[in-house]
Amino acid sequence: MSALRIGVYFCACEGEIEKVIALDALARETFERPEVITHQAFSLCSQHGIDTIRKDVKKFGLDRVLIAACSPSLKTTEFADLGINKYLVERVNLREQCSRCHPDNSENATKKARALLEMSLEKIRHLKALETVLIPAVKAALVVGGGVAGINAALDLAGAGAEVFLIEEKPFLGGKVSDLHRYYPRLCPPSCGLELMFSQLENNPLIHVLTSSKVEGVSGSPGNFSVSVRTFSPDRADSPETAQLRSIIVGAVIVATGWELFDPTPLTGYGYGRLEQVITSLDFEKCAKEQTQFLGERKRTAFIQCVGSRDERHLPYCSDVCCLVSIKQALLLKLANPDNEVVIFHNDIRAPGEYEDLYRQARTCGVQFVRGIPSELRQDTPGTIGVSVFDLMAGERTEFVADLVVLATGMKASQGTTELKNTFGLVTNKYDFIESHLQCHPQDTQREGIFTAGCCRAPMDVSRSIESAGAATAKALRYLQGEIAVNPDYPVVDTLKCDRCKRCVEECPFKAYSFDDEGFPKVDILKCRACGVCMGGCPLGAISLGELSIEQLSGMLDVLDTSYLGEDEPIILGFLCKNDAYRAADDAGSKGISYPPNLVSIMVPCSGAVNAMIISEAISKGVDGVLLAGCADNQCHYLQGSALARARLADVSNKLKEMYLEPERVRFASISRDDPEKFAATVKAYADELKQLGKNPLRIQ
């Protein structure tokens, strides 16, 4: 390789870095390297500083730019366009992880800065110029499920100009909502909204409705999914073989497969199915819709809340809608006939936001609320049901004779959701609803290009279903623009090293890997989220990310001076995950929480991206301890990344033991993004522990 021309730019940060770090000395030493030019700026992120770099790139024809300034997490916009491919620019964290965290120890802070600088100068040689990849995509989407969420998603997508295929298993659209008598909170009939939506569907040439149809299989990638759909005749007379099968090419998929009512029969005490007067809330809706006299007929009605829901043996979650459904139904009974006696036996009433108003209306118009859940229902006289409950507010038993008992039954994931989960390889949470990262990406699934709308994600009411359909549409539109821009930091498999063990294929949290014709793993860059879990897991180190390769890491270890603090001080190499641990480390600096200078860090996309080979190599090259720090438990942005990292590290630890080395030389830490105190404490404790343990016997004298 011909010598690279490298520009190294030191930032004094208006004196802040310079106050602690001997920048002059560092710049002088660096300049002694023949291929390097250096520059010291008072403030590198100022317009003047950036112009200087740009001019140098042009004037000297620089191949690489190294910025020794603040944390790489900061000033990313300022340093984004330096007139050189941005993947050829590297940062050294001299502020958050040197000057700010060791303010009282200028000498050691400078030593640490030197070690970091040397590693970066090595890393920079291995960088490759990368370009955003543009992949052509079809401007069409598939919506599975013709309920209120699916219909709204279809209308929103078509409104944004995409062609839409709306698939419904039943012969008609409308889903569960078409069975309802009234919506809450405005108590208007669903038919009004549905009719409007149906006519919009019909009149939109971009929307193709396929009823009596099922998705049978899917292949391809986001932007170009090929979905096979089987359409039966409405009477289902045709066999699966004779039914029409067609293939649809779509760029994105929205799953809106809805919910099913919990069957209360297993709660034998309530006698559902045995006692005629005991019905579910959905039965109530049908009665109110179909029998004109139903609501106004004078009767005593009891509602029982949380039937199946919040029950560890059935649905351990809150079904979200039942409180308001019962309140709505009770109110309708009272409005139809003020002489109707209505009692709601409840746990906590959940009526957030403006729904409180509906709850208040129900209370003021005479609906009784009794805190306490009946354990069983008894039919002492024919035609009536005796409800006996311990009234927790009164502190005594109360009896109510009802003509009708409505069980506020919970919502569970539908059969269709489970089927589609298998077809699309989706991942569900412990309650069988489709979920990815709930708080950050509620509409995402663990598969790129596939999104959820409505109750297949969680129990929710009509208004939230429609809202989620809009959110899913907004997410899907990225894949429906004719082309998709992909960041070039996806992994590349070196097929010369690969022995086709399939580990990457199995461990990828996003199922982005498949096999090519020769059986080698092939990554689908559209499904990949560049977490690097494959790179971390590959037993042969054959996988590297675009931005971070095995060669880079190995090279950095080669140049790391394990005696940078002298012979007696232990050195910790920290692999810190970009989303949490690295930011916590930065925050420790910014908040003035100091920790020993014995740790030098390398930023990785996820703790799961660190290969055991690299960790072993670090130990063999004399590093006293390796700290692998990921996010807090259960918070991994890449789902099982940190869990895999922890498990793999345990293997390394065992291997060390076999080699008669101390297993304590590798350590995993869970550090939340907002816990700099824990980060500092972890480093301090580990440095102390390693000091006790003594020098790594493999350290070069």
Binding site: G269, C306, R310, D311, E312, R313, H314, N347, D348, R371, G372, I373, P374, S375, E376, S388, V389, F390, L392, E396, R397
Partner: protein, 149 residues
């Protein structure tokens, strides 16, 4: 005092629905017996009050509450543990003495009801005997008379 009961995670998962008391057969005849209240008092740390009182001895251990509790709390089992704790610290009430007497005299804690007799007859079982001799044999072997101390 052994406070393992208070740390019981399942006990703490209670969300106060009151289903245990609603379905309790004892509560129907003796409203002062309220399983939900007993669980609440344990959580609040009022163990002594419970162990000194008579309530914990009133449960017939029919398991209805345990079976129906939506959080899967073993209410009956907890009541059993409370009795064990009370007994261990010699805090037994008259109720226990009465139960013990019934046990030694008839061989069972509660007398059979008319319904029980009918059910046995239907199932082809012999009528309940009032003779405690076999029971006494077992009690003797187990040195159960220590209970009377």
């Amino acid at each position: 005092m052994d406070n393992r009961l208070v740390d019981d995670e399942s006990l703490r998962s209670c969300h106060h629905c009151g289903k245990c008391t609603s379905g309790c057969e004892v509560n129907r005849v003796d409203p002062s017996f309220q399983p939900h209240r007993i669980l609440h008092l344990i959580r609040m740390g009022a163990l002594d009050e419970l162990l000194d009182g008579a309530a914990i001895w009133k449960c017939t251990t029919c398991f209805t509450c345990s079976e129906r509790c939506p959080q899967g709390i073993g209410v009956t089992e907890i009541l059993w543990s409370l009795r064990a704790l009370a007994f261990r610290s010699c805090r037994t009430t008259e109720l226990l003495s009465a139960q013990k007497e019934a046990l030694f005299k008839t061989g069972r804690l509660y007398p059979g009801t008319a319904l029980d007799h009918k059910k046995r007859e239907k199932a082809g079982l012999p009528p309940l005997s009032e003779n405690p001799s076999l029971m006494c044999l077992i009690f003797d072997a187990a040195k159960a008379d220590r209970l009377s101390s």
